[in-house]
């Protein structure tokens, strides 16, 4: 008697469906299998029309994010054994995103939001090549390293209720990414990004639910990034009242 597990998978075919429905598949329950292995088994052996994204199958590309029993998970990192032999596992596309087909979500909005925070090193001055490279100590790297670990899997967007309630909310990953650059000593764009994010669809839309940090597979802690950003923005607001105009504390990089 082989061990089995049942996957209830959301199916949606835009050419014939009005809305998604669930289809059950019985797959072998293998100790070393993850949900992605089960999906691949279904596509290979049972129903080739099952549509989903995946790539590296080792938790670094961010492609295979789905809702598994109501929780945003990377399916390549979620073992069938955590659900038990004979269990029913519900697999749905990531919450709060439009669904293109089956388990595939539309990410265009997310990509626009990422780009909107100017996630690149912004320089006010461009030193000549002869001045040499930018130097960065391990301590300076440590200031932003955690926020640079994001793999854009959008699990945090599926966990954040504000993303669901306010589709224009720029979201956890985008703000964490902005902070990654703000805290980089080679960057001089913190003020510019602050202007882009200090509004109700930016950092002030966040109500610190904290779910984003809990579900993040890379321990980026976007909630922490956002709260730190809020504090910084609030202090900037105070400064804009108290200090004279034109104060600038951008140049923090060290050069040889």
């Amino acid at each position: 008697m082989a061990d089995k597990i049942v996957l209830e998978i959301a199916r949606y075919a835009p050419e014939k469906d009005e809305e998604p429905s669930f289809q059950s598949f019985e797959v072998p329950f293998r100790k070393e299998w993850v949900v992605l292995d089960a999906l691949n088994h279904i596509k290979d052996k049972i129903d080739g029309s099952l549509t989903y994204r995946w790539s590296c199958r080792m938790g670094v590309c961010g492609s295979c994010g789905m809702m598994v029993n109501g929780e945003p998970k990377l399916t390549c990192a979620t073992f069938l054994s955590s659900y038990g032999n004979g269990a029913k596992v519900r697999v749905e596309p990531l919450r709060y995103f439009p669904v293109i087909r089956d388990l595939v979500t539309a990410l265009s909005d997310f990509l626009v939001k990422l780009q909107s925070v100017k996630p690149w090193l912004i320089r006010k001055d461009e030193p000549p090549l002869s001045a040499g490279e930018f130097l960065q100590t391990p301590e300076q790297l440590d200031l932003y390293k955690q926020f640079s670990m994001c793999i854009n899997c959008t699990l945090c967007y599926a966990a954040c209720p504000v993303v669901g309630l306010e589709p224009s909310f720029v979201g956890p990953a985008a703000i964490a990414l902005a902070q990654r650059y703000n805290l980089d000593n080679r960057d001089q764009g913190a003020q510019e990004r602050l202007g882009l994010l200090a509004h109700p669809e930016g950092i002030w839309g966040c109500t610190f639910v904290g779910e984003c940090t809990r579900v993040c597979p890379k321990h980026v802690d976007p909630a922490g990034a956002i709260q730190q950003y809020k504090l910084k923005a609030a202090l900037e607001w105070v400064k804009s009242f108290v200090l004279p105009r034109g104060h600038d504390d951008e140049s923090k990089e060290v050069r040889s």
């Binding site: 949606y12 835009p14 050419e15 469906d17 009005e18 809305e19 998604p20 109501g70 919450r95 709060y96 439009p98 669904v99 293109i100 087909r101 539309a106 391990p138 301590e139 440590d142 209720p161 669901g164 309630l165 109500t207 610190f208 639910v209 904290g210 779910e211 809990r214 802690d221 909630a223 922490g224 709260q227 730190q228 809020k230 504090l231």
Partner: protein, 138 residues
């Protein structure tokens, strides 16, 4: 809703509506909403304090009337619930506040638990101080 065929250039994406009862979807969402509602308990505590101040201003009879009112079963039940929410506020506040201000000592990040503990200690000290002022008879 009329069915429109999807073509190569016009996919019909499905957008699920977010229910008004989204917060009942998981116990974590529910706990979040309860945490936010603890602000009502905070506001009620301030109202009670203001009522007390008004009673102090109006004289001993007003004070006696207020203390009598506070002994009623409904008030006590309300204040038990209020106190539970206040504890929820304090605990979630001290556990989450360190996220906004990462503390670094010698280039290394201090674990959040160590930042939260002094807050709790301060809470105990502050409460003891207030209680001492209120309770001493001199």
């Amino acid at each position: 809703m009329t069915m429109q065929p999807s073509t190569e250039f016009h996919p019909r994406w499905y957008r699920a509506k977010v229910s008004t009862y989204w917060w009942m979807g998981s116990w974590r969402y529910l706990l979040f909403i309860l945490r936010e509602l603890s602000s009502v308990a905070v506001a009620w505590s301030v109202v009670m304090t203001v009522l007390l101040l008004r009673a102090l201003l109006n004289g001993p009879e007003a004070y006696a009337r207020l203390t009598q009112c506070l002994r009623s079963t409904w008030m006590i039940a309300l204040n038990i619930i209020t106190f539970c929410f206040l504890l929820l506020h304090t605990i979630t506040w001290f556990n989450l506040a360190p996220r906004a201000m990462p503390v670094r000592v010698g280039g290394k990040r201090v674990p959040e638990f160590l930042v939260a503990v002094p807050n709790y200690a301060l809470w105990v000290v502050a409460s003891a101080a207030i209680a001492w002022f209120v309770l001493r008879t001199s």
